[in-house]
């Protein structure tokens, strides 16, 4: 096997092992969206009327509406968790060890990105399975067709996590990331409410949501889950992914990035 693939296998396995051993992390990753689905969505079921917007062909319950958003939420949180573990690895020294390997740095970062994406997708499918048991079933082909969308979403949000991790020097600063990146990204998106609903309360909020890359990631997943292809959402998500990845590579470049040693 070529060294690049050996490195990929090793990094993905390491992330998988870490994930499996941290059972509480897996449970927490599932409990979070399930609480939203079972508690939050149930409360809003009657209050929030949803008109028909693509890809839906008819009226849907709020529980069904938020499923793609919660898939996005799982990927977003897992990406940030992965970024946190990068910061941890850097503090512990294992990241430095990894980066001293003869393989190109961009490839090593890509391996971390792929590992995070794989872990995200496993969690998303686990969530979709539990949601199906709860009674929220999607078109069966949607479960398969959503896979490419989930990969793109995982890579984009994972790249965002990588870029952010290059900025964070201490684990303690991660709370700031939660407050200033994850929550605004999640709440100012179409994950919980359709954009037309946002426009009803504020055009400004609607415009912010419309440019939020997470909105397009969620819409990409939403359309894919119903067997439809949203070109606009794919374009926005891919563009955001390329920018986040470029930022991450720049951030981890010792010559230019923010991780370079001072003095």
């Amino acid at each position: 096997m070529r060294p690049a693939l050996i490195a990929l296998q090793a990094i993905v396995l390491r992330e998988a092992l870490r994930f499996v051993r941290q059972r509480s992390r897996f449970i927490a990753a599932l409990v979070r969206p399930l609480v939203w689905l079972v508690v939050f969505a149930a409360g809003f079921r009657a209050a929030l009327g949803l008109s028909i917007t693509p890809p839906y062909q008819t009226y849907i319950t709020y529980e069904i509406y938020i499923v793609p958003g919660l898939c996005g939420m799982i990927i977003l949180f897992n990406s940030m968790q992965s970024a946190l573990s990068l910061v941890y690895d850097r503090e512990m020294g294992s990241m430095r060890l990894l980066l001293t390997s003869p393989l190109p740095r961009w490839w090593l970062l890509m391996c971390r990105l792929i590992a995070a994406t794989v872990m995200s997708i496993v969690q998303v499918y686990a969530f979709l399975a539990i949601a199906a048991l709860y009674g929220i079933r999607l078109p069966w082909e949607g479960y398969i067709l959503a896979l490419p969308a989930l990969i793109i979403a995982g890579l984009t949000l994972g790249a965002l996590g990588l870029a952010l991790s290059s900025l964070i020097h201490q684990l303690e600063n991660f709370a700031g990331v939660m407050n200033f990146v994850i929550f605004p990204m999640f709440f100012l998106s179409s994950a919980l409410y359709p954009l037309w609903k946002m426009a009803e309360s504020s055009e400004t909020l609607h415009d912010i949501c419309a440019v939020n890359p997470f909105t397009h990631t969620v819409e990409l997943i939403r359309f894919a889950l119903y067997g439809e292809f949203n070109v606009g959402a794919l374009g926005w998500t891919a563009l955001a992914g390329v920018i986040f990845l470029a930022l991450a590579l720049w951030g981890y470049d010792p010559a230019h990035g923010l991780t370079r040693r001072k003095g």
Partner: protein, 321 residues
């Protein structure tokens, strides 16, 4: 449009050219129009103007005529479904809301909401054959499969009035729950079902004895009971299942017609009132008044598959094969 639906549409073009697709005709009471939905494409293909406030709608047995209750025009219009032209008006009494065509394909039994009467009209001679005093605000109309009994439900008197179609006279009155809106006989004629909008129930009567033999109540998750208002309902061909429109609860209930238990609730548009099956009974079309659309339900899967925009306040629905 998905690639699959595009392919299906293109593949069906030659068929559509040579054969008349089945249609659902929906009356829009605020637009004074009928929206015609093609059952193959599930799209509105025609919009036809009618008299004022069209509500009840039904076809003649050979589908060469369509009868429309133009309530605010105080008439029943007879239309050629091919051309969409009104051929003539029938005398109907004031404010005809609902009607039912007798199995003889000749006599229309019409509920005159403002006059508390049921008018019987001969559609061939175009004359009123009888006018029968019933309770206040008559609405629901049904005729037994053997044609011997006609039913009028009165919304304010809260009764089902049993009419002998030989003598055109009432022979029984039975109390039902508050604001009865719709009545239907089962195909064998053994049962009469009557929905009560405010009562929130559907009562089942034994036709032979005119006594109540069962009652169905509804409980839609997350919806206040006051908003659960049953109106129209339809039976599947085997009569094992009934679909009941629950008005402003925005749901259709799926009822086991043998045990009278509610098995499922299906989300549709706002304020669902009446329904019509496709000719093969595989799809059910619901009229959603407030949202101005029609939801198509896959009967076997009990899933809503599409909602189609029609005119303002769709009310009645009838199918033309």
């Amino acid at each position: 449009m998905t690639l699959k639906s595009l392919f299906t549409s293109v593949a069906l073009i030659p068929l559509a050219t040579f054969s008349q697709a089945a249609e659902v005709w929906v009356t829009n009471e605020k637009d004074d129009t009928i929206s015609v939905i093609d059952i193959d494409t599930l799209e509105v293909t025609r919009t036809i103007e009618t008299g004022e406030r069209p509500r009840g709608i039904t076809f003649s047995k050979d589908y060469s005529r369509v009868y429309i209750c133009a309530s605010d025009s105080d008439t029943v219009q007879v239309m050629d479904p091919e051309t969409g032209k009104v051929l003539y008006d029938l005398p109907s009494g004031e404010d005809p809301e609902q009607f039912v065509l007798h199995p003889d394909d000749r006599h229309l039994y019409i509920a005159n909401e403002d006059d508390a009467i049921t008018t019987v009209v001969d559609t061939q001679t175009r004359t009123v054959v009888a006018q029968i005093d019933v309770g206040i605000e008559p609405e629901g109309m049904a005729v037994s499969p053997d044609g011997k009994i006609a039913i009028t439900t009165s919304e304010t008197t809260n009764m089902a009035h049993w009419i002998d179609t030989e003598t055109q006279e009432l022979f029984a009155n039975t109390l039902v729950d508050s604001r009865p809106r719709h009545a239907e006989f089962t195909a064998q004629g053994g049962e009469l079902w009557v929905s009560a909008e405010i009562g929130g129930t559907v009562s089942i009567f034994d036709v032979a004895s005119q006594t109540e033999k069962g009652k169905i109540r509804f409980d839609v998750k997350g919806v206040h009971p006051d908003r659960v208002q049953p109106v129209g309902f339809e039976f599947t061909e085997d009569e094992k299942t009934a679909f009941v429109a629950l008005g402003p609860s925005n749901h259709v209930a799926v009822v086991n017609a043998k045990t009278y238990e509610v098995e499922d609730y299906i989300l549709v548009g706002r304020r669902v009132w009446h329904m019509a099956f496709s000719p093969d009974k595989s799809q059910l079309f619901t009229t959603n008044g407030v949202s101005g659309d029609v939801t198509v339900i896959d009967v076997a899967k009990r899933d809503p598959i599409k909602t189609i925009k029609v005119g303002r306040f769709p009310w009645g629905a009838a199918v033309r094969p």
